[in-house]
Symmetry: C3
Subunit: 345 residues, 3 copies
């Protein structure tokens, strides 16, 4: 098991060591569960009281909490990011053995870097390219001519259709599908006819895609996912969508066709973005919110119906079908009130 | 690369050629992106101004716009459908080599048409039937006794359970699951017991099923998807649902058990149809709308909470918990007003 | 085909036989569709009239309906559960042949019980354990060190990541993913960095997981699914969630990180439970409802916007953006009313 002393960690990741740089830790844990071989962390001064009872051998703290404990500690401007980095240090991904498993199937003309790994039952299409140190998991399918950069980690059962372009450092989880046809149909004399989806999916660097998330290829132009975008599980990205760099989207959200989402947006779980609209940079959408029009201004937006006990919900909700009438009755009352007041004065 | 002149296209697809039938095109593109070897299209007169700047070699236009440009052009009653057909002509699906790949696994008694194609790592169950010219992609699984018609295109990683019946021309995208057990459980002395799901999924002709969409088999009777139904990605169709012919459903929608949806309905993305209810033909449901009761009349329906800046949303939404009280206060005001007016007259 | 007489059934499952215990049945069917070789059932006295026309050879009835027909019948305290048990008796799962298919790939050190079955194209990771009588379907992937109990039934294309712990009697449907990384990211100087997800997924006994449902592994601690939990299709369970025993969740629901859901809860389709909150035991959440705060008291809760024709919806909904103003105008009217009444008295 890997172990690091605080001085080693700070040498690699920065930060200021206080109270005992020689303490060795092997794993990261919450304040509540930590044992003496663990390093823990406090990312919000509000929970400073939890420091008292911890059995952690060391902790990561922000500057404001630097003196909140006498435990061996590392002080960082951004203790949450520091925690992430320490955890990455203590938990390196298992290395995949370079090479192509004998139970993988490789199409003619595919170029697989000698440092890349292709697992059993994976299938690589004709003329596809797998970059250096990339790992293609069990049962993955990579379509013809698709190009994947370096250091990708495709967990088992990722499907990427033909002709897609993927940057470096992709993480794609099981069951994610990239490049499936967009939903393009035209009504013709009582029958739907299919519109061929001839665009691609183009994905930048440092993108993560969650389990069972789907990203459709463009109808004519491309669907584009810019650098640093993070997608949780079971998200649907429709054709011709563009998602700006460093935007993060929580699980079960859906983005309809040709929507353009800005940079550094945060989209809540189960939110729905309708098609052909734009979101500015730094827009935050609450969970389970439908966005039906463009948002031109950064900020937080919501559209959530409030939860209630079912009986209360029913009693109040029934009036929503008559809100216009209620508004008119208020208007009428105001007019009558003016009239009465006029008579009195 | 395939190229067609306008006269050839019109000979195959109908329409009226104006301004130079000999112009050859190799691909379709938007007015904005088109180059001289492209054919483009205008499907809505509202955007007629875009015709001016296009570099397209030819365009598809409706009758109303027939004279809106001097470019070589094809005039059609339904330019959107015509565009779809031209695109299909210019972008034929890559042909799959007939035959069974050596890394596919075929169950005893399975009947695979000699013109059909079964790709590497696909598994075909016992006594399953794969019709003429059908393509079963990499990693697909077809359960025992399932029958698939002709000209199906199953993209990689489609799973169809046992005993299902699929018509001709199915398109099924990666990760779609057909015939999984419906969610049938009965409470028995504090524990759920499973209700076996012994119905099938029966799918008509010309159906398309999106990536990671799921269609459960019936509990006792069948789940039925009629001809020409188009399902986008990540849709959930529960047991014993019937979806009428030519209905189209957008991504992330869900239909609960035993719902019966009419013909030519349009269901928006993320909409939810509760169980045991009926939708008439030609019903349109807005995105993110819950349908909790049957709809007997064609038309458009919605149930969407309006989007607002989070502060505005909070300030307004708080009153929803007191709507019934607000309504009563309005009623009380009206009564007092009547009383006052009575006294004055 | 298996056939049972009513006396045999009651001997195995209990219940009281009336009107002809020797009648043999081979299958279960609805009252409407049943034929003489079928046994049918009535679980709600409300539909007693349907008994009259049925062609069923026998029926299952509750005590209240014991004399509602002269057909051969079995009387049970819980006719719905009894129906489930009879159906299980008449429809045993097809047995899977024990052993490892020659086209499966087994990692070093994996322990597969001699009574278990591993199908073609399945991949079992290093040191994984597959318990007695468990069936691992085609294309499944079981990660390194994962332990699966006895009598599991993994349908094709189930993915379970490394280090997970699964109890007995799991049913997992196609495309379900267990143990994928939770959505853990930290912002660091304009870029998201990944927080390693080092917890596991721990699943109790008698759990069923629907098609394309995803359950993320914990960030530091585990994600826990207790005994008897039933999950429908396309559900997303985020990292560090705990779901109490015998809770049932309908399709397309999502539970965000670190939420703790009680025992015997019922969560409707498409519902969303936000993160870091708690639901008491026996809480029922309506379909398509967002739960944004903890619920401490058992009972039924809802947050559904009412459906309307689109024109009515638009006319009424517009006022939601002005509810606070409407409430203030009512307050103003009340004050003016008091003033007027004061003047008059």
């Amino acid at each position: 098991m890997t172990s690091y002393c605080l001085t080693d960690i700070a040498a690699q990741l920065g930060g200021r060591v206080l109270g005992g740089g020689g303490v060795r830790v092997t794993q990261i844990a919450t304040l509540e569960n930590a044992q003496p071989h663990h390093i823990s962390f406090l990312t919000n001064s509000k929970y400073r009281a939890q420091l008292a009872g911890t059995k952690a051998g060391a902790v990561i703290l922000g500057e404001a909490d630097a003196d909140a404990t006498s435990l061996p500690r590392i002080i960082s401007d951004n203790p949450y990011a520091y925690f992430a980095k320490v955890s990455a240090l203590l938990n390196p991904l298992p290395e995949a053995k370079p090479g192509v498993h004998s139970a993988a199937v490789i199409g003619d003309g595919a170029k697989i870097d000698v440092t890349a790994s292709v697992a059993a039952t994976a299938v690589i299409g004709e003329n596809a390219v797998i970059g250096a140190y990339s790992v293609v998991g069990e049962g993955c399918y990579i379509g013809a001519n698709t190009v994947i950069g370096s250091h990708a980690r495709l967990y088992p059962h990722v499907v990427i259709y033909q002709d897609c372009v993927i940057g470096d450092n992709l993480i794609a989880h099981a069951g994610s599908v990239i490049g499936s046809d967009g939903f393009g149909i035209a009504m013709d004399e009582g029958r739907w006819i299919k519109i061929p989806q001839i665009g691609r999916v183009v994905i930048g660097n440092d993108v993560e895609i969650g389990a069972n998330t789907t990203i459709d290829r463009g109808a004519l132009n491309d669907t584009v996912i810019e650098d640093g975008v993070k997608l949780d599980n079971q998200i649907q990205i429709a054709h011709n969508v563009r998602i700006g760099a460093h935007t993060a989207i929580a699980g079960c959200a859906g983005v309809a066709g040709s929507a353009v989402i800005g940079r550094y947006c945060l989209i809540g779980g189960g939110a729905r973005i309708l098609g052909h609209l734009e979101l500015a940079d730094h827009v935050e959408i609450a969970a389970h919110t439908l966005v039906g029009k463009s948002i031109r201004e950064a900020g937080a937006y919501a559209a959530i119906y409030p939860l209630a006990k079912q009986d209360d919900w029913r009693r109040n909700t029934v009036h929503l079908r008559h809100l216009d009438e209620l508004a008119k009755r208020i208007r009428a009352l105001e007019q009558e009130m003016e009239l009465l007041k006029g008579k009195q004065s």
